[in-house]
Symmetry: C2
Subunit: 221 residues, 2 copies
């Protein structure tokens, strides 16, 4: 039996004020006790069904948050990333609408803009950067950004989420055509949202089959 | 310290006779001794710099092959995938031109078409399927298929490789435009390949900076 430390880490991403933020948590024990880091922990072979199960357990235990969407990011490994020894971290990223984090209200969870220079222990900076690049890349051809919206949203709200992630304005007509092509949204009958000076906008939600399963575009946005 | 078995597995893919094949190797020891499976093994904390290093070491030790291109695929984990206990396999996929496998000439390496029904131990079938889906998906918008070509190739040869992976004929003009857009090929001065009844075709190779680093298309093929 080889001695490799097996952990999971979770990059929890959310949009607040149209800024992409990552959730950091003060570490409760050594190494790096008291330092803000990604929520993470050991795999528990006696209770985890797989690494994803471990990631969901650790996230919930440490932040009180149930992530509606979580996906494996990559595995980071080596002798130097953790002072305790040769270690593997199976990293996941979770997309969580801001209101869920607010409602969980964990006092030690800090949201930090991913575009500010981050100083993090272990190789957590590289893990966050990998997650942000993956999210931004996949936003160009999938339903991934929808998981940052609330339960219901208007098309202009969804377009702003895509634009925040992609960092550029999108053409409204072409954006709507792509959303229609993905066929993942369901209008909520009779529900409209007042939109200031504009006429009220139709509210949508994700079709049930796409709440945990990504939808892809054959060609990008 | 939690007791998790940490291994790496390698899905070595090659094209032979325009058919995508995976390399299998008879297992030398229990569990599943004598059964054809993916080349894999334990991480060796005393010699591996990271999991990718372990994958390259295991592949070379077991098959004699040095993979020119190897990429992390995903990590598979859980209590049931390996009879020895709760285990993690950090899986990689390697793309290797057929002539390299032929030259290594390992007597126990068997190449099997990925489109035939595979019966494999552990969760190796799921690992192979994930690798094939990743390769076919990425072929649509990257230089990935080039790693299945030899050192030098003509554009018609490269197009046939893309077509074999994507399973559909591609338009020659648009294929060439996309290859130009990726700007990763370098014509070899004065080198042409005779092409039967056709006029000789220019030979190309990958520019050095793309030999181990993927090039992406902004929009797919």
């Amino acid at each position: 039996m080889n001695q490799v430390i097996c952990t999971v880490d979770v990059v929890l991403l959310t949009l607040k004020d149209e800024t992409l933020k990552v959730a950091l948590l003060k570490r409760e024990r050594e190494p790096f006790k008291g330092v803000a880091a990604l929520p993470g922990g050991y795999i528990h072979p006696n209770e985890d069904m797989d690494a994803q199960d471990a990631a969901l357990r650790v996230l919930n235990a440490k932040t009180g948050i149930e992530a509606p969407y979580l996906e494996q990011l990559a595995t980071f490994s080596g002798p130097a990333r953790d002072p305790r020894g040769w270690s593997v971290s199976i990293a996941y990223y979770a997309l969580v609408p801001y209101h869920i984090i607010e409602k969980a209200g964990h006092p030690d969870v800090k949201l930090v803009s991913v575009d500010r220079p981050l100083v993090l222990p272990f190789d957590h900076k590289a893990i966050v950067e990998t997650a942000v690049a993956r999210l931004r890349g996949k936003s160009q051809y999938s339903s991934l950004p929808c998981y940052l919206a609330g339960d219901t949203f208007t098309l202009p709200q969804l377009q702003r989420i895509y634009e925040s992630l992609m960092g550029e304005p999108l053409n409204k007509v072409s954006f709507r055509r792509k959303m229609t092509e993905m066929d993942m949204l369901k209008p909520i009958e009779g529900q409209m949202e007042a939109a200031g000076a504009h006429r009220p906008a139709q509210l949508y939600r994700l079709k049930p089959e796409f709440r945990h399963q990504l939808q892809l575009l054959a060609r990008g946005l």
